[in-house]
Amino acid sequence: MLGLELTATPFIETTRGPISFNNVIFDYPLGRAMADGFVKEPAVVTRENFSPIGKSAEPIQQIKLEDGVRLDESVKVELETYARQVGERIVKPFMLVIARDTTHAAELMQLIRSSASSRGATPAKSFRSIRA
């Protein structure tokens, strides 16, 4: 009897930290998958001449959200253009905003909704908050 297991987490969580499996026969780490082109290329994004110095949390959050929306809008266009050029299905992208807690999440939803309506954004857009 031969048992094979595929896992993304080849370790057991213990109180003293993770203990790796000792019977691994093949290891293919994420870094290699990235280099081999099997997953997306992660990129960290900022704005030209951005300095957090002297800025409080609120305006920084605002800038990050605005640039996130802009990026996602441009990705949406790139995805549609690509799909039409090669005759593939159109993929609709979405943006994930990570909040500190549920209060913060509710505030963010309010903020995004109000700025969307002030810009006259599409009503098709919708937002939601999930309780952790």
Binding site: Y82, M95, R128
Partner: protein
Amino acid sequence: MREEETIERLLKVERSEEPTEIVIHVNMLKEGWDVANLYTIVPLPAANARTLIEQSIGRGLRLPYGKRTGVIAVDRLNIVAHDRFQEIVDEAKRPDSAIRLQQVVLTADQLQHKTVTVVSRPQLASKLGLQFEEPDALSSAPAGFQEAPAVFNAEEQKIAKIAYDVIRKFETQPNKLPSVTYLQRPEVQAAVLQEVTNHYRPAQMELDGVTQRPDLSAVVAKTAEIVIQETIDQRRSTSPISSWCPKER
């Protein structure tokens, strides 16, 4: 919104008919939720750089087409982190980090420009009513341009399509059609009509005498005229691109 509905929509976020474009979540979603159409992550809590990288990439690295496309934006996951940028870059550069991170610095120019997808097809195709293959029936209408109206009704379009295919076939045989201008000649049009008559099968309704049988020779003549007109237009055009852009009305 009820929680079940929220979860329902969250599970469907990958589908193109689900309109959700922004998902707000408390902390990082843990295992079991990995969606290929996640392209932008905006982490707001003050987690340490390493946790931030690990959790972000664990969520949105799957490729929607299962492979890289060669189009940078389609192959990239954006982690928006203005305030933590250098810290994250430095963390990813550590020798024990398995992950390489690209860096994107948005310029004022990029921030101002808004792009749209514009779909264009030749005037010829839209006038003849030739079928244009949509990759996704649910997709939004292409923005920006008005196409030339089709000149034929539905049944006539079927005939025009056959006539167009016959003309294309003739174009590959110089003894039949040395150049498109020869389409004006009665004997060439007669040859096209002969082929069209051989290939055209009217819809059942016409056989039952419900509607009139369309005038094949008139449709062939009109198709020939459009092909000549649009071909000459294309040759006159100095830019190869402009000839393929629908004219604005």
